[in-house]
Symmetry: C3
Amino acid sequence: MREYLERVRETAPLIHNITNYVTVNDCANILLACGGSPIMSDDSGEVEEITSICAGLNINIGTLNRHTVPSMFLAGKKANLCGHPVLLDPVGAGASALRTETAAKLLAELSVSVVRGNISEIKALAGAGSAARGVDADAVDAVTEENLDQAAALVCAFAAENHTVAAVSGAIDLVSDGEKTYVIRNGHPIMSRITGSGCMLSAMTAAYIAANPGHIAEAAAASFCAMGLCGETAWQRMKPEDGNSSFRNYLIDAVYRLDGETLEKGAKYEIR
Amino acid sequence: MREYLERVRETAPLIHNITNYVTVNDCANILLACGGSPIMSDDSGEVEEITSICAGLNINIGTLNRHTVPSMFLAGKKANLCGHPVLLDPVGAGASALRTETAAKLLAELSVSVVRGNISEIKALAGAGSAARGVDADAVDAVTEENLDQAAALVCAFAAENHTVAAVSGAIDLVSDGEKTYVIRNGHPIMSRITGSGCMLSAMTAAYIAANPGHIAEAAAASFCAMGLCGETAWQRMKPEDGNSSFRNYLIDAVYRLDGETLEKGAKYEIR
Amino acid sequence: MREYLERVRETAPLIHNITNYVTVNDCANILLACGGSPIMSDDSGEVEEITSICAGLNINIGTLNRHTVPSMFLAGKKANLCGHPVLLDPVGAGASALRTETAAKLLAELSVSVVRGNISEIKALAGAGSAARGVDADAVDAVTEENLDQAAALVCAFAAENHTVAAVSGAIDLVSDGEKTYVIRNGHPIMSRITGSGCMLSAMTAAYIAANPGHIAEAAAASFCAMGLCGETAWQRMKPEDGNSSFRNYLIDAVYRLDGETLEKGAKYEIR
């Protein structure tokens, strides 16, 4: 795992983000924390030019609108032409037809290197009957030790069918390229009590795959381990009076300080 | 007061926010902190669908524009049809005709459960001659012990005329359903030195009324007491080198940790 | 320097910001921290009215789009008519034609009091062959002790040609009115590892010049010294487990606490 992290710090990939206005600041700071560099741009008049000077593209539909959706396609196609990895975060797929359809169309029309979502979003895109409730995974869908085999099979099949890496975060994370599947057990439940933990993971994963374009699944898994491990580190810093706002700061701080050796030792994963 | 807080934590209401891009991250985190769940969506192509899966709607005109204003009406009418409580935060009413007129039209065309603003904004909507200066209440308008009777009468009349609960924050808060008026003396002056203290209060109040739909005025008053009390708690954490940024974190942290018993003991209010 | 800071705290200038959605929350909080007051508004239906009630205008093209660009011109012309200082932050000039051209057109058509950017952005606007890489200054362009004379000459000439104050931040800051040039050596390298250090500096500088309209260059230099000094103060607070997120909080906190005497003692500048 360490080499994927270190490659981010060595190459400082510039990531083009077309993302939502809720968590955009956190996404920019996590990119800087992990060693990458952010640029946000969503006007159709410049997205192709911007994405061409970057190393990777992060498309997040968290607050999609009629002006930014066309920009997602323009930037995505340009990134494909440039050979830059593209990450899609289908925020809220399943919560509205606009979200589900936009995410599905992006996945169909673009070459997407990684789809990073929660299990409800992936199920919605897979047409597998999601219990999505807003932008968070539904408890009914949650990946547990009990349903792990079925969930891993679903994620693996989704990756294979869509010629992508499916990267699904939750209490147990699953990252699959359609053949092998990483089962990752880093993280802490409080991560779901801050806004943007998923969006930040997507942005950071975009940096990891941009810095390691020949190892998309491995780099995505490394990013997931890194974020989960930093969640654990951040949790350990919590004082009795701290809450989710301090946790957010500690999480980004932990990403800023994480080195390859610590990641290597702290990553908890198996490959199936 | 404690039962209204506890009902939020028990039911975890999902709140649809059409809000400004300045404080949206803080609004999402305060909703998670208080026990609710946020979703932000402002495209007219999905707002009705999104609001229908939520428990309440928070409309904030802080950075209104020609694309989001129609979405506010669409979502508001849908929320009314669904019987979901709607909160309106008329940010900057009085500062521009667009804001004053949009807020007035929303109030006229929608069934608004709570209008949450500062006294200058409420005066602007009441046509009572506001001294609004930007998005903050003007010192001339401020509610003080000296003008409390007149201010309470104005707020009570505004609620009665508009068939809503008027919830006005300031050094002294006033929450009125047109009959009884809560006079609340929690809070700390530094709350006006961070951006978003008003927006966060609106978002949290939307969660409180969504979780307590049969007790709109009481739930709004509980939310006001809770936020003020958390401002006091946050202030007590301030170290000599801390400023408004740390205060913001402490405030959200305090909301995250607040329980019903602490609220019950710390709430400082009278009913007139 | 102290008088420029104190004048901000005495007059609490209201600043109209048309800015990006990435760092807008930080800009609002830094304005409150330094003693100013923020309002954000970008709809063409209200920007003239909003800017007319303010004391200064901060135009930042960080996430410009086809709807906000016309608003920048409308607000800028109105601010000029009102005699309010206008600050332009040409974020990413050089990174796309849209950005370079928009910034150049704003500079040509408006009376701009201060252009606040990094050296790559200023070079792009000067047509001097920038090595811009995204929204950060390129290492090739960086102002160092070795190329200081040439850089200062370029910045001074840019100010003279454009009848503005050019305020360029970096490891060494340069602020020039086309005659005299401030060379400022406050700051810390970690400031480039948070998003928004440039945007926050622009917002704060807008407050400084709005509060000191007869002393634009001096006030801009004071704002630069203040931000750099606060970066140093914030760095000193860093604990072993802290990273860029805590640094951001400490930076805004430091601005909140900074007084004129501390600025006077800590400012490290020379005038050429």
